[in-house]
Symmetry: C2
Subunit: 586 residues, 2 copies
C-alpha cells in the first residue's frame, strides 16, 4: 500500500509515523519475498528496517551520503532508493545485487563487501567535502560484529581526529555471523544495560560524541535522535540496539543460521533444498580437527568470525572449548596469533576464505613467514567455483601468497592428498604451511598418498608420456586428466601428466627432465594468471626451446559471473585446450 509509492527517499519523507510502521511491515514482506526465492542475508536486513527508514526520513540521500559496512544489510536502503522491484518482482531479482553498487544507484558510493571499511571510506568522503567547503552529512552504518576489525578502529580514531561532521551509526544486534568475541563487547553490553549512560564508554574514549537508541525498532526514538545529530559539526556515534532477524520469528530465534540463507519456504523457514551434504572439505576438516584436538591438547583451531568455514558448528565449538578460538572479524590478528602459538609449541590451524585472507599479506609475510613458525593455514573458496560476487572473488590468493619467502603453499587434488598434507603440516615444525582447499567437491583418488611432504617442491608425475606435459594444479587436476585423455583418444598424443602439489616452488629437476622428450608444457591453475603459478613455469623455460601455455583466469574485474562461462572465456575447457595444443605442436 505504501511501498508501491516509494520511488525515492523523498517519498519516505511524506509519510507519518503510523504509515512508516505499515511500510516496515511491507518491507519485511518484500525482503522475505526475495530472500525466500533467491537466498541472501536474512537476519541482518530484517534487523535494520526501521533504522533505514528513519535514516532516509531524516537525511537527504544522495546529497547526504550513506556508507553501509559490508553492505549485506543494505537491502532496505536499496528498496527505498528506487530499487524495490529487485525485491518485489521475481523477474527483476537479478538486476539488483546483494551489496552496495554505484552502478545501480547514485545513492550508493562504493562497491564493498569486506568488513570494517565503511568508516574509513566515509572519512574520505568527509575529507573531500571539507576541502570543497560543502555541508552534507556523511553517515557510516556499521554493525557491532564489524567493530572487531582493525580498519574500523583506524577509521574511528581518524574520524575523531578530523573533527568535522561524521555520523557513525553502530547497529548493535549483539551478533557477528555467530557470537561476538572480544573485550569491546563487554563494554557494548555495559552501554546497552546502562542505556548509554555508563561513564566508561569506548566511543567517548576514542574521542567521539555519543548517543544511544534503546529500541532500534521504534521509529519515534530513531527519528528523534537522528534529527538531533543531523548537520552536527563534529563526529558522533549513534549506538542503536536492534534485534537481528526482527519480524521473522525463526530468524529471531536462530540468529546464527539466519545470517545468510539459501532459498527457503516463508511459512516454515525450511530450506527449499535440504542442505544435508556433510561431504564437504569444511565439514570433514572440522571433524578431523576435533579428533586431533582430543588427542593433543596443543592443537587449536582459529577462525575470524566464520566458524563453519573450518567446519566448527555450534556443537563442535562447545566440544572443542578452549581449543577453538574465534578472534572476531580480525584476520590480521588471526595470522599473528597462529604464529605466536606455533612459536610457543602449540599447533595452530587457521581456516579462512581466500578473499578474506587478502587482509593478511603483511602478517603472513612478517609475523609468520619471516619467523618461519610452523602454523597451518587452510584456504577455502579459492576457485572460479567459489563465491563469485565482485568483493568475494577467491582467485587472488596464489599471487598473494606464493612470492612470500618461507611460505609453503600446497594444492591438493584429492581427499587423500588433502588429509596427508594437513597431517604433515600439523606435525612438522619447520615451515609455515598453507593448503589451498579444493573447491569443486570432495574427490577421492582411491589411492593412499605416500608422499613425504618434508621434501619440498617435488612434483608428482602421474602419467609418463612425451611431447606434451600437463602440469595441473590443485582442483584443476581433474581438468588436466580430461585434457590428457582427449589428447590420447583424439590425437594419439600420450601426454605427461603432473600433479605439482607445491605452489610455492619449482621442481627444477623434473622441469629440466621434461626438456628431453617434450616440446610443450601447459599449466592449469584455478586462479588469476598474473603473478600466479604458471608464470613461474614460463620463467623457468624462458631461455629454452620448450614452449609453454599458461591457463588460468585473466586479470579483470569479475562480478556475479557464471563459472562455466568464465572458464570458457579463458579457454579452460578440455576442447579448447586441446585445440590450442594441437595448433602449437603441429
Amino acid at each position: 500500500m505504501y511501498l508501491e509509492k516509494i520511488n525515492s527517499p523523498e517519498d519516505v519523507k511524506k509519510l507519518s509515523i503510523d504509515e512508516m510502521k505499515e511500510l516496515s511491515f511491507e518491507i519485511r514482506k518484500a525482503l522475505l519475498n526475495r530472500l525466500s526465492e533467491k537466498g541472501g542475508h536474512v537476519g541482518p536486513n530484517l534487523g535494520v528496517v526501521e533504522l533505514t527508514i528513519a535514516l532516509h526520513y531524516v537525511f537527504n540521500s544522495p546529497k547526504d551520503k550513506m556508507v553501509y559496512d559490508i553492505s549485506h544489510q543494505s537491502y532496505v536502503h536499496k528498496i527505498l532508493t528506487g530499487r524495490k522491484e529487485g525485491f518485489t518482482n521475481l523477474e527483476k531479482y537479478k538486476t539488483i545485487s546483494g551489496y552496495s553498487n554505484p552502478d545501480e544507484s547514485e545513492h550508493d558510493f562504493f562497491k564493498l563487501g569486506h568488513t570494517s571499511t565503511s568508516i574509513s571510506l566515509a572519512c574520505g568522503l568527509a575529507k573531500a567535502r571539507d576541502l570543497k567547503g560543502d555541508k552534507d552529512n556523511i553517515i557510516a552504518i556499521i554493525g557491532d560484529g564489524s567493530l572487531s576489525g582493525g580498519e574500523a578502529y583506524e577509521g574511528l580514531n581518524n574520524a575523531a581526529e578530523a573533527g568535522t561532521n561524521m555520523i557513525i551509526i553502530v547497529n548493535d544486534n549483539e551478533m557477528s555471523i555467530a557470537e561476538n568475541y572480544g573485550g569491546l563487547y563487554k563494554n557494548l553490553r555495559e552501554l546497552r544495560e546502562s542505556e548509554g549512560k555508563c561513564e566508561c564508554n569506548f566511543f567517548k574514549a576514542m574521542g567521539l560524541d555519543y548517543y544511544y537508541i534503546k529500541d532500534g525498532h521504534n521509529l519515534d526514538e530513531l527519528i528523534s535522535t537522528l534529527s538531533k545529530v543531523k548537520d552536527i559539526d563534529h563526529p558522533v556515534v549513534v549506538h542503536v540496539h536492534t534485534i537481528k532477524g526482527k519480524g521473522f520469528e525463526v530468524a529471531e530465534k536462530n540468529k546464527e543460521q539466519w545470517h545468510w540463507g539459501s532459498p527457503f519456504e516463508i511459512e516454515t523457514g525450511k530450506p527449499r533444498v535440504a542442505n544435508t551434504n556433510t561431504n564437504t572439505y569444511n565439514n570433514l576438516t572440522g571433524e578431523y580437527l576435533l579428533n586431533a584436538m582430543k588427542e593433543d591438547k596443543n592443537v587449536v583451531a582459529i577462525t575470524a568470525g566464520t566458524p563453519t568455514v573450518i567446519g566448527f558448528n555450534k556443537e563442535r565449538r562447545e566440544i572443542a572449548g578452549k581449543q577453538f578460538v574465534d578472534v572476531g572479524i580480525a584476520e590480521e590478528h588471526a595470522v599473528a596469533l597462529a604464529s605466536g602459538i606455533a612459536a610457543n609449541g602449540g599447533t595452530p590451524v587457521y581456516g579462512v576464505n581466500s578473499t578474506f585472507l587478502q587482509r593478511t599479506y603483511d602478517q603472513l609475510s612478517q609475523d609468520l613467514c619471516i619467523n618461519n613458525n610452523p602454523a597451518t593455514i587452510l584456504v577455502y573458496s579459492a576457485s572460479v567455483y567459489g563465491m563469485n560476487d565482485v568483493t568475494h572473488i577467491g582467485l587472488f590468493d596464489i599471487g598473494l601468497m606464493s612470492n612470500i619467502p618461507n611460505m609453503v603453499y600446497l594444492a591438493p587434488a584429492f581427499k587423500e592428498e588433502y588429509f596427508k598434507m594437513l597431517n604433515w603440516a600439523m606435525t612438522q615444525k619447520e615451515h609455515p604451511v598453507a593448503i589451498r582447499v579444493p573447491a569443486m567437491g570432495v574427490i577421492e583418488s582411491g589411492v593412499e598418498d605416500t608422499t613425504d611432504y618434508s621434501i619440498l617442491n617435488k612434483y608428482q608425475v602421474t602419467k609418463e608420456g612425451k611431447e606434451v606435459a600437463i602440469i595441473a594444479l590443485g582442483d584443476f587436476y581433474q581438468l588436466g586428466e580430461k585434457v590428457a585423455m582427449k589428447l590420447s583418444k583424439e590425437n594419439n598424443i600420450e601426454a605427461t601428466l603432473v600433479n605439482p602439489k607445491f605452489i610455492t616452488g619449482i621442481d627444477e629437476e623434473l622441469l629440466e627432465n621434461l626438456k628431453k622428450e617434450h616440446k610443450l608444457v601447459i599449466t592449469l591453475e584455478d586462479g588469476i594468471l598474473e603473478g600466479g603459478f604458471g608464470e613461474k613455469i614460463s620463467r623457468f623455460y624462458g631461455p629454452s626451446n620448450i614452449k609453454v601455455l599458461n591457463y588460468g583466469i585473466k586479470k579483470e574485474i569479475l562480478d556475479r559471473y557464471i563459472p562455466d562461462e568464465l572458464m570458457k572465456k579463458n579457454r579452460l575447457t578440455d576442447i579448447q585446450i586441446v585445440e590450442d595444443i594441437i595448433k602449437i605442436i603441429k
Copy 2:
C-alpha cells in the same frame, strides 16, 4: 662499573635501586656509544632505559616472555640479555641487529619490525602457554604511537577475550615518529593528566585491567607497579609515561628528528655527515605537492606516520594545514581514506614505503581498485637499494600490486617521467594510479616526457635494434642502458632498449612486433622475480620461439645484505647479463 657485570637478567636482580640508577646512566652511555657511531633509533631507546631495567628486575626472562612492538626500542633489552658488547665494543656492532632476533638470543621470540604486531603475537604465546598449562608471564611492550594500528586493537580486543595472564605495557612518550594523530590520544592525555584515574578509560572499555605509572623513569615506581601485576591471572595494561630521548638533551628537545638518526657527534648531536641533500624524490615530491595544494584546494597529501617520506617536514605540514593528513600508523585506513576522497571529488596522494604498503593489499584491491577511484599512491624505498633489514625489505610491492584489476602501477626511470606521471595521476579521473619511485637517486634524462599516460600499457622503445631486446623497468633502466652499451661495444650487438613504464600491463603490440627481428628478450626489475613483471613477459612469449631471460631478485629471506653483493648474486650486473645473453644467442 655495573654494566660490565651484566651478562644476563639474573645480574640485574642483584642490584639495589641506587645501583640500577647508576646502571641507567651507563646504559645511556653505551647506547649513545653505538648510536653515534652506527646510527639507529635514538629517542625510543633512551626513553625506555629504566622501564626495561625494571622489567628484567621484576620478571624472569626468558621463561617470562617479552615481545617488543616494532622492537626498535629493544636495545636496552638486548644490553641486559647478554648482548651488551654490541653497544660497548665498536668491532661487535654488526653482530647485533637493530630489531628483535631469536637467532641472537633466547630472550627474543620473534623477528619483527612492523608496527602494532606485539600484542597479537603475545596472544599467541599466551594461548600456547594456556593449552600447555604453564604459568609464565607474557609481556607485550608497545608505544603509544603504535596504538594507532588496527592490528594492535585486534590484539587488545582478543587479549581481553582470552582472559588469562597477559601484561601489556603501553609506553606513552606522547610521540609517534612525529606527533600522534587520532581520537585515542585525547584519552591517553586525559589518563596522563588524571594519573590514570579518569573514569572514561580506553583500555578499561576494551575489557582490560589497568595501572598507571606516572614517572616512567622512576625505578621505585616502576618496580612497585610491575611487581603488582607479576603473575596476575588476567590481562592488564600498565600505562607508563616516559620521555622520548630522556637523558640526551638534544634528543629530548627535538623528538621528531631524534627518532632515528645517522651517525652523529655525541658532544653536540651534529650529524657526522651533514645530510643536506635536498635532491631526493622525497623532498622534490613534497615541494611539488605543496605547490599543487596552493593551486587546488582539493589536493590532499596523506601519510601513515611517516611524513618525511612524502617530503613533508614540519614546516611544510604547517603550510599545508588541512591539506595534509597524518592518519597515524594506519596504512589500511590511509588507502581507504584516499579512495573515499577521490570518490567525492578530491585529489588524494598517499606516500608510503613499499614495505609498509604490504599492510594494504585488501584495501588496495577492495576499497580502491574495485571502485576504480582515482587516487594516487607513491611507493618509496622499493628497491634492492632501499632499506635492507629483514622486516623492511622493499622488493615485494610489484608482486603485491600488479595482479590487482584496475590498478595502474607505473615505474619511472627519470625525474622528468616521474613528474609527468605524477601530474597525469593527479589530473586524470579514470584510474587508481601507483607510482614506484626510483630509489637510486634522482636521474634526469634531460628530455621532456611527452608521453600520454592515459593510453595504458604502451612501452617506450628508446633504442631500436635487433636480435636482443632489453625491457628495463623503472630504476633498473640505467642498468639496461649499460647492458645495451656493452653488447654494442664488445659484441657488436645493437640491442633494442625498452622503457616499459607500465608494470601492470603488457604492450602486446610491441611484444608481438619484437618477434620479428629478435631472438631473445630480457627483462630487468628491481624486485622479487616471483610474481613480478618479468614473468608476465615470459608468459606472453611462452608459446612462441622467442627466448626470455628474467632478471630480478630471487625469492629468499634477506637480512642486512650488501646491495651490490645481492645484485651480483642474482647476476644483475652488466657483465653477467651480457655473458648470459651471449651464451643464449651464440
